[in-house]
Symmetry: C2
Subunit: 414 residues, 2 copies
């Protein structure tokens, strides 16, 4: 297949093709400490009710509510973590702390502020109860928060802090989740040197690999750094095979535009199936997507453009949804909101543009306001600095005026 | 100081007191691979221009623009990563690939599609140039993306993927950043058992510690797990001193309400200075904040309530901003948006309520819609499940109608 034979897909078509080739990874079990951020692969039902016993919500006195106000002998104390070895008969009270199990016989708790301890010379001390209350007051009955057998978390839910707490509450410490996809990153180009090395004549530093590794972490993947490959067929092929063996997704950066030394597309045609090689978008037109079947299963391969902005924009638009689908997300697409333009933006007559912008919520206007990051050259990584959204600008001539509303795809925190 | 002597602060007052006691940590240097998510502690200026040489943006032929269309002898080839050892005199052309340095003498690049290679019998091959273009066409001049000495990142900026790419571009691999705050977590209560252990009589599982550890990670902190402490003064004091020695922030969970066995507040009064011990909010009223000066500096201590919802809500409202300020954030508060209620919500006449809700962007209404997570009991952790916002409901009688707009504090991804 020659380069010109790739038909030009729209972004929507390309994303559909990508996700159609992407399957969730096989679920695995992880310990409670390792599931943060993962997607649950099975429903979780509580084994016991919560609370598992009627529990006091106050420090005070366990009473028989029907007794009402009066002075009553103290028959014992019960604190959290132990059951009382006595019962509260009508006409008696017991001291109880927050979270402690209600002693047998008692049916309510009077908060300590509504009582008075009467010190007597001998015998059981008396407690003055000043309040009349109904049975059940200040008591959490068995199962009020969670019933035994109740589904506390459903397959497909993301495990953030509260969900981790619910797993702990339910006593689950070995949890079925979708694993984090392994994503290998390979930079290509004889001109590239590592960021820490001095620049020789004609050289530039490889910014894309460190950038993509950071983006993979942020997207919930586990990066594998394959280094820089020179522009020879042999060097490239060996690294690609290494990546396919070790990762679920392989990203190459550079080498996909139209030159004689752009070896990535022919290599992917040889190693697997290329599904698209051009997309109608700005930046990112040469982005390429292939699959390869290797021992261990089907791999996704994205040939990302070498320009750093094109590389990161196509990462967000295609790789992030694929990565999320592999990681078990039910709705893997980038979150979308609307935003008002802070300044007029020129449109492109030939391609939809993904304009980098910083969104801020404006309380007065009750909407997001999008500020452009400036000159949008695909080599100008400064146009991604502080950007948390890609504005999906329509393909047409002219200018969008300040104040107009556009769709914004979220790529960072707002 | 006895418990009743704590005056009741508003949430705003309590947050102000907290942040007034909080200072950014001392900056440290980290390698490029370790700075993701951190806040930069110094401006970063580019040492060289980008590109460092005039670079072709196309595969094609380097020409002298003034020559115009015609057939010209090919004097050489130059690809990315090396300087040409020849120059392009008027009336000659050289093959060039994307990203390669423009040879001396050339001032533009004709894209390969606008040329034709004429194969000749002997001598230098001829190249037909079909296009007339201006000097500078398809060439990125030196410094067009970044000028030497230009500030590419400023102190206080967060290092996400694009910013990591900019650091790599600028050749910075040893970067001054604010470190991740170390946050120690201690659960208190004789009734608590580890999530993996069977429940004995009167016992419940400790959900808060695993939950808070996950929340600390998500907030950019480095958690230290101090385990569960029983309800004795000695046990608690030893763990607290351990936490103060090892962490920047110490969180205790439980033991701050009003019972005889609630030892945390007296302990903090002994170990340091308690700044507040009650806040007018629902849930979370008993939340306590103290500072302690130990060898190694000033520590922040938060006594979080034992009810899981109260614990997590107060973590988001007070600990997250403090943690972010320590980590160098200039605007450490939770991000705030407005949202329309999906259903009517009852108000509390005595305390502002932080109602847990799931926000979703509604394209039709062009706003966020907030769905309540249901019954808001502070022991019901299910009310935090899938919640990504806390709705700040005003303290007053009555009900907010569906469709009304409220302030929402973001606690998760939208």
């Amino acid at each position: 297949m020659t380069r010109s034979s790739y038909s030009m897909l729209s972004v929507e078509e390309a994303l559909e093709v990508t996700l159609a080739q992407t399957k969730p990874l096989a679920p695995e079990h992880r310990s409670l400490a390792m599931v943060r951020g993962a997607i649950l692969a099975a429903d979780i039902a509580a084994q016991e009710p919560l609370p598992p016993f009627p529990a006091s919500t106050m420090d005070g006195y366990a009473v028989v509510a029907a007794d009402g106000p009066g002075d009553y002998p103290l028959v014992g104390e019960v604190s959290a973590g132990a059951l009382a070895e006595f019962s509260v008969e009508p006409g008696t009270v017991a001291y109880i702390t927050t979270g402690a199990p209600l002693p047998a016989g008692a049916d309510a708790v009077v908060m300590v502020e509504e009582t008075e301890r009467l010190e007597m010379g001998a015998g059981a001390p008396l407690v003055r109860i000043k309040e009349r209350l109904q049975a059940g007051t200040n008591v959490r009955p068995i199962g009020i928060d969670v019933q035994a057998g109740q589904t506390v978390l459903a397959a497909g839910e993301r495990l953030d802090a509260a969900e981790v707490g619910l797993l702990a509450t339910a006593g689950f410490v070995d949890i079925p989740v979708f694993p984090r996809p392994k994503v290998a990153v390979l930079s290509t180009g004889d001109e590239l040197v590592e960021p820490g090395e001095p620049l020789g004549p004609g050289q530039i530093r490889d910014s894309n690999r460190a950038m993509l590794v950071a983006a993979i972490y942020a997207a919930g993947g586990e990066p594998i750094d394959l280094g820089i490959s020179g522009d020879t067929q042999e060097a490239l092929e060996a690294r690609v095979q290494d990546g396919l063996a070790r990762a679920d997704i392989l990203l190459t950066s550079g080498g996909v535009s139209m030159g004689e030394l752009d070896l990535v597309k022919p290599l992917l045609e040889h190693a697997g199936t290329v599904h698209f090689g051009r997309v109608r978008m700005k930046p990112g037109k040469p982005v390429t997507f292939a699959t390869a079947d290797v021992e261990g299963g089907r791999r996704l391969v994205f040939g990302l453009p070498g320009n750093p902005v094109s590389s990161l924009v196509t990462f967000y638009l295609f790789v992030v949804p694929a990565l999320r689908k592999m990681a078990g997300w039910k709705e893997p697409g980038l979150r979308q909101v609307q935003a008002r333009l802070a300044q007029p933006l020129p449109l492109d007559a030939y391609r939809p543009e993904y304009h980098r912008a910083t969104l801020r919520w404006d309380d007065g206007q009750a909407c997001f306001v999008a500020s452009s990051t400036g000159i949008q050259a695909s080599s100008r990584l400064l146009s991604m600095r502080t950007a948390n959204a890609l504005l999906a600008l329509p393909q047409r001539e002219g200018v969008l005026a300040a104040g107009e509303c556009v769709e914004a795809l979220l790529i960072g925190e707002i």
